[in-house]
Amino acid sequence: MGTQSASVAGRGMRAAWPLLLPAYLWLTLAIFLPLSAMVFFSFMTDLPTAQSGWSGTLENYRAFFSEALYGTLLLASLRLGIEVTLWCVLLGFPAAYVLAKVLKGRSREAIFLLVILPFWSNGLVRIFSWVMVLRDGGILDTAINTISPFRISIDLIYSYPAVIIGLVHSYVPYMVLTCYLTLQAIDDSLIEAARSLGASRLTVLKRIIIPLAMPGIVAGAVLTFVPVVGSFMEPRILGGRTGTFYGTVIEDQFVAVYNWPLGAALSFILLAVVLLILAVASPVLKRAS
């Protein structure tokens, strides 16, 4: 019985190879090779193309620990990741709930389109349009002051809130989509059953809907947290002087300072920290889902 099912599985695998191979070949070429090159660089004194020659070293990793700034920036980036993720949950989950459980038919499609729309525009364009909105004398400032009887100055650009706003805007659609998918799968009769048993809407939310939607919330949180911790575009453009984060420092190493080995080392430290966080959190996340 056991061997028979194993051989069936084996036959299934043989049939699956031609389907799997193109994708994995591509992944190997596109991700694994450059990534291993980066691992290699992170242990070198300079790029192999440098005239002055190069040798192996641990100096790039040691720099992270000897220079307090990197640790501080990493903590700032982690905090940014947590805050943006929380905002995304707070904004995205209710929206996903309304999309999945309240709206029907045409109006659902229309609202859904609004959620997906940011995906269709270029990220850089999106961020720069926030500059137009948030700066002093910008769209938000002008709009509020046309309505308000007294002068209110809205000058959010080049501040921490501006970075948060830009990042939340970029990542909230992921949260909406992942939550929507799990909420959609919750049968309405579960909600009705809970209410028939005396549960108020709030109790239904706490004890039925949120626990059942947890896999979606967790997936959305991971999809948001990981890239936000390493983000550099939003902090740089919307944060100005306050926008120095771990991600922007890495970017500097690659595009400004041309210290690729240090940039690579800092990247892998970030990767390790993120993986560590996910590993520590995984029992909690698994229970939640």
């Binding site: 579960l190 009705e192 059953a193 028939s196 005396g198 004890r207 039925i208 059942l212």
Partner: protein, 353 residues
């Protein structure tokens, strides 16, 4: 426990009237079946009583208390859903405990009540399982335990047996009826299965197009249908068309069909008479029929054998009559044979349009 009263309730969805001026009294402690084809409004009515939806006009009261504007969670009802709606994120015991813990009962009283409810549905050993580890019948029992553990005033059942296979369904019918009797809870049961309604309920209401066509005890509704729809929806019926005369109807070819209870209307109006297939005696032509019975002659077109019974389709001047016969020893009638059908006036119901 409480009785439920529905008074002149209508519910419209846009221009569609799902319920049209419905009034029903659901007696305290009774088992009431709402029977009707899909789209008849029976589920809409159940949802109005539960409080998932509110009537466009009319009143609903539970135990004398008017509830039209009371939300579901305050109505103290128990409901069982077609798909059971067990919470997949909780164990069986937690599912059953849900209503009690929401209410704020103490931990020890919750434990006692949950154990008692699981005992009642004979699932006392499965408290730690998850719903997905249970069979369909077991899920059904958990749903029932969860619905009754809070001691609701009314138990509402929305086609709870329709997802089970036939044998299990019959078991559950008996089981459900036993539990209902044991705790004496007012029960309203929505079904489209007429057999289920007949076996389980002590009162039946037939709905069609948002109106109550007829209601009463099962025997009553079955023996004395008041409309052609009621006659043919609840059980099988042979419908003969004609015009009324003093004690029966006269068919177009002049044959007179006598009824025990003559129609109240004036003579000579269009009417039908309904006869249940099992009330008709079928015999080879020219055999003697006792006097005082209605007789018609015809020819057997088809016979369907179903083990313990047979159904004969008898042609009479282009009309087909169904006759249901318990299979006995002895000679059977065969297709193509001329036969005489007879039945008593007591089994004849005259319905004027």
């Amino acid at each position: 426990m409480a009785d439920v009263q529905v008074r002149n309730v209508s519910r419209s969805f846009g221009s569609h009237k799902a319920l049209d001026d419905v009034s029903i009294d659901f007696p305290d402690g009774g088992f009431y079946a709402l029977l009707g084809p899909s789209g008849s409004g029976k589920t809409t009515l159940l949802r109005l009583i539960a409080g998932f939806d509110f009537p466009s006009c009319g009143g609903i009261s539970i135990g004398g208390e008017s509830v039209e504007r009371v939300p579901v969670e305050k109505r103290r009802i128990g409901m069982m859903f077609q798909n059971y709606a067990l919470f997949p994120n909780m164990s069986v015991a937690d599912n059953v405990a849900f209503g009690l813990s929401v209410r704020g009962d103490t931990r020890s009283s919750i434990e006692t009540e949950v154990r008692r409810a699981l005992d009642l549905v004979q699932l006392d050993k499965l408290g730690e399982r998850r719903p997905h580890q249970l069979s369909g019948g077991q899920r059904q029992r958990v749903a029932l335990a969860r619905a009754i553990v809070t001691k609701p005033r009314v138990l509402l059942l929305d086609e709870p047996l329709s997802a089970l296979d036939k044998a299990l369904r019959v078991d559950m019918q008996i089981e459900l009826k036993r539990i209902q009797r044991e705790i004496g809870i007012t029960t309203i049961f929505v079904t489209h299965d007429q057999e289920e309604a007949l076996t389980m309920a002590d009162r039946i209401g037939i709905l069609c197009d948002g109106r109550v066509v007829q209601e009463g005890p099962p025997e009553d509704v079955y023996d004395r249908p008041r409309s052609e729809f009621a006659a043919s929806f609840l059980g099988d019926a042979n419908i003969l068309r004609g015009k009324t005369f003093d004690n029966g109807i006269r068919l177009s070819d002049g044959m007179q069909i006598l009824a025990k209870e003559a129609s109240s209307g004036s003579a000579g109006v269009e009417a039908i008479c309904a006869v249940r297939p099992e009330r008709i005696t079928i015999a080879a032509s020219a055999s003697a029929t006792p006097p005082g019975r209605n007789t018609l002659n015809g020819r057997i077109m088809k016979r369907i054998f179903a083990g313990n019974s047979s159904t004969y389709f008898v042609d009479r001047n282009g009309e087909t009559l169904k006759v249901l016969v318990q299979n006995q020893d002895g000679e059977r009638l065969s297709e193509g044979q001329d036969v005489t059908l007879s039945w008593s006036p007591e089994s004849t119901v005259v319905i004027t349009a």
